[in-house]
């Protein structure tokens, strides 16, 4: 009697613990307030089982440091710094319970559950957001170097093979388009005309038209790839004046039906970078209806900015974000202190908000490249849950039917234990904070079928013992005793394979392995301990029982 009581207390305790794990709790979530676009905390009540991305929808990204544009010496360090930046950005961007973690040495995993706009999320994560301010080429050093560059190109163009395509398109432009381009080129074209006329067909200078301010050039949109390939040549790079760097602009200007991309020659040393940035806010300029980002520099940054802009009054300042010049460089009218503004033109306010967000979170130490992406729509996840539960209910109903039909009252005991088994498994998932994935759901359903195996083994053994003419009580004892070695062997071997699967698998498959392992543990408890206790109570109530319903 004492043992029954202590066993019941143990089972009751486990059950209370399990149910306590599964009680819906208040969970705080950060969500974006659609009205203001700000983040706010809300609390919702839900059963605390983490659903995998494949069940609730969302986006999974694996990122690595982009080494394609030059090697990054210490990728582990870069990824650690990137993790902090990405985490800050995601927290601001706002999805509930984001996962940002480093996998291995140099890989960053980002999981955003329930995210509905994967393209936007990706651009926010991947954006380097390196902000710098540079003075444009006020002395026109680059323009003066153009003839030399053209000469070098002409020499190379004749002798070096493989430039045929570029050279052909340059001459083609020259033969047919120059007249038109000249006529329609913007007002600064005189300078461009100078160089082109003086040096006859100049491979590079023929592509560039002087812009409105010093250091600004316009390149016809369709010639941008040609210009890019010419500028990337090492012999051209060598001839670009020291202290000057070329940066493409983001703006596409339309002049008389043709579109031009801006190219800026700017000093190679920034007067200040985004690391001094303290705050950034997006607004819409009421006068011009343009999206702008207002930023505030730190006190120290403000002092540097003030000094530098003081030295460059009446110069033009290019605002460069991730290597691209934003908008047209403004002229510095007087000293600028801690506050400044980036104009985004006609772009939607959301772009400005995203830019403010990434500027505030800081720049990534190196560009990140996406090596794996999975996006699951929320409706697909709901379908999966519904189908999985439906399959589970039908499967479990069939198992119940088989067990009760075949083993009758003993079958009922095992089904009662099975109910406990399901509760324990779910509680195990919730309690240890594991994630339920779609394969995990399949594993749960499957493990119900396998979980009764222990009971089948025991019941069959009891039947055999009864057949040998043993008394009911002895038969039950012997049945449990003899079935034990087979149960332990078979469960341990399954658990071992599941454990290996957990070690080498990724997200969803790990979910499957975890569910299987927890299921095995729970089934050992319920099939052996719980069913045994049920039998003890049963035999205790009916000590004179001669036939057992098994």
């Amino acid at each position: 009697m004492r043992t029954i009581r202590s066993r019941l207390i143990a089972i009751g305790g486990l059950l209370v613990l399990a149910v306590w794990q599964l009680i819906p709790t208040n969970v705080t979530q950060r969500v974006r307030d659609p009205a203001t676009g700000r983040m706010k905390d809300t609390t919702i009540r839900r059963v605390p089982i983490n659903l995998g991305l494949d069940l609730q929808g969302g986006i999974h990204l694996a990122l690595e440091v982009d080494q394609s544009k030059g090697p990054v010496p210490d990728c582990a360090d870069a990824i650690q710094r990137a993790e902090k930046v990405v985490r800050t950005r995601i927290d601001e961007f706002g999805t509930s319970e984001p996962v940002v973690q480093i996998q291995g040495r140099c890989r960053l995993i980002v999981e955003l559950a329930g995210e509905k706009d994967p393209a936007r999320a990706k651009s926010i994560i991947q954006r380097t957001a390196f902000l710098e301010f540079r003075i444009t080429d006020m002395k026109n050093l680059f323009r003066d170097a153009l003839p030399e560059i053209d000469k070098a190109l002409r020499r190379a163009g004749v002798t070096v093979a493989g430039q045929g395509a570029a050279a052909a398109s340059v001459t083609q432009l020259f033969g047919t388009d120059t007249g038109k381009a000249k006529a329609k080129a913007p007002k600064g074209k005189a300078a461009a005309k100078d160089t082109t006329d003086l040096n006859a067909p100049g491979a590079l200078s023929s592509l560039l038209f002087q812009g409105q301010l010093p250091g600004e050039y316009l390149v016809p949109e369709e010639q941008v790839p040609v210009a890019e390939s010419l500028l990337a040549r090492p012999d051209v790079q060598r001839l670009i004046p020291r202290g000057i760097e070329l940066r493409w602009g983001t703006e596409v200007l339309s002049r008389a039906g043709r579109s031009y991309r801006t190219l800026y020659a700017a000093e190679d040393r920034p007067i200040i970078t985004g690391e001094y940035l303290q705050d950034a806010k997006a607004t819409r300029d009421p006068l011009t209806n343009q999206s702008v980002v207002n930023f505030v520099l730190s006190r120290r940054g403000g002092r540097i900015f003030e000094r530098e802009t003081g030295r460059h009054v009446n110069d033009y300042m290019a605002i460069i974000l991730d290597g691209r010049v934003q908008g047209q460089p403004p002229v510095i009218k007087s000293q600028i202190g801690q506050r400044g503004q980036i104009e985004l033109g006609a772009k939607p306010l959301q772009d400005a908000q995203d830019l403010a967000l990434v500027l505030k979170a800081g720049a990534l130490p190196a560009p990140l490249t996406i090596i794996e992406e999975r996006t699951i729509g929320p409706s697909l996840g709901q379908d999966s849950i519904r189908d999985g539960i439906r399959a589970g209910v039908v499967g479990v109903a069939l198992v119940v039917l088989i067990m009760v039909g075949y083993y009758r009252l003993s079958g009922v005991l095992s089904v009662a234990a099975l109910a406990l088994y399901v509760v324990f498994t779910l509680a195990g998932l919730a309690g240890f904070g594991f994630t339920l994935t779609l394969p995990g759901l399949a594993g749960l359903v499957l493990s119900v079928g396998i979980a009764v195996d222990a009971n089948v083994l025991i019941f069959e053994r009891i039947r055999e013992e009864l057949q040998h003419g043993k008394l009911v009580r002895t038969a039950v004892d012997e049945g449990f005793k003899h079935a034990m070695s087979a149960i332990i062997d078979s469960n341990v071997s399954t658990a071992l394979t599941a454990f290996i699967l957990y070690l080498v698998g990724t997200g969803p498959v790990q979910g499957f392995a975890i569910t299987l392992i927890i299921g095995i543990a729970a089934s050992m408890i319920t099939a052996i301990f719980v069913v045994r206790t049920f039998y003890m109570i049963w035999l205790d109530r009916r000590p004179d029982m001669v036939t057992l319903s098994v």
């Binding site: 494949d54 393209a119 090596i371 794996e372 992406e373 999975r374 996006t375 729509g377 409706s379 697909l380 999966s384 189908d387 999985g388 439906r390 399959a391 589970g392 039908v394 499967g395 479990v396 069939l398 198992v399 088989i402 039909g405 075949y406 009758r408 779609l438 394969p439 759901l441 399949a442 359903v445 499957l446 079928g449 396998i450 009764v452 195996d453 089948v456 083994l457 069959e460 039947r463 055999e464 057949q467 040998h468 003419g469 070695s485 087979a486 078979s490 071997s493 399954t494 071992l496 394979t497 599941a498 290996i500 699967l501 070690l503 080498v504 698998g505 990724t506 498959v509 499957f512 299987l516």
Partner: protein, 339 residues
Amino acid sequence: MIRLFANANYDFIKWRRWAYGLTAAIIIPGFALFLVRGLNYSIEFTGGTLIQVQTAEPVGPERIRSALDAAGIRDAEIQQFGAANEYVIRARLGRADAVVEGSTETTAAAVDSALARALGPSPDHYKVLRTEAVGPKVGRELQGKAFLAIFFSFIVTLVYLAIRFEWRFGLAAVLATAHDILSTIAFIRYLDLEVSLVVVGAVLTMVGYSLNDTIIIFDRVRENLRKFRRQNLYEILNLSINETLPRSVLTHGTTMATTVALVLLAGEVLRPFALVMTFAIFTGTFSSIYIAAPLLMYIEKRWPGEDARGARALRPAGSVPLTPPPSSGGSEARSKAAV
């Protein structure tokens, strides 16, 4: 009381040669096909892009193919997936025109815009339900991991069996498991199932499950060897298989109930997994009886154990009468009728 196969006394081992023929007839053509054509690996392994879309009306795969062709994405596989208006588009790496600029991620965007052009704007005319873009590096890593998983599970189960059983039992069980993996590969090849990491998971679960079955029978063999000192291994094996038969039928029945429910109801994504698990129940049961048990006999014959009963094992059956366990009688008649 329903009793299936109670006190059954079938001479399973006698039919072993027929069983070898049957399993060879399944495995050899399937494996040959596998060697020639390979398996249909998912993009997790090959690298590439998968996009699952749901269209407003069932437009048919041809319409989607023409949309992709117009955008210059050729060589993509298009497959109807579950419902009539759901399609899966797969663009694998390593196929010439399947992937835009070698980047799996931009391909997803290219497919999206191609569909928008052909079918109309997104939420009204079609919906992207799922996107997977896997770079070549991740694919290669995963291949290595899947191989390691199968390899290590073999090693670990071998070690476990060596600890729990004599090595002769362990060897027979592992060889039976190897048989299961071969026949599962043949099965996957016949149905041309897509091999994803989840299917590899199913194969590993199958390994565990089939091993279970073998262990249950061997456990009984171990016990009967101690109990019936006079009988040879042939008889002990038959006796043990017959004694565990009711358990096998019941457990396979309940497991089958769940896997069939998964095949029929759990949706398209889990179907390959559920099909492999359903097949695993058959092959696991088969190999426990017809591969593991006869192998144990051959191994005992070749390298006899202490009492050298295996050396006598291949003597024709019936030279020593098989003694079934003493029975209290009464219920056999009905169970035999059920057979």
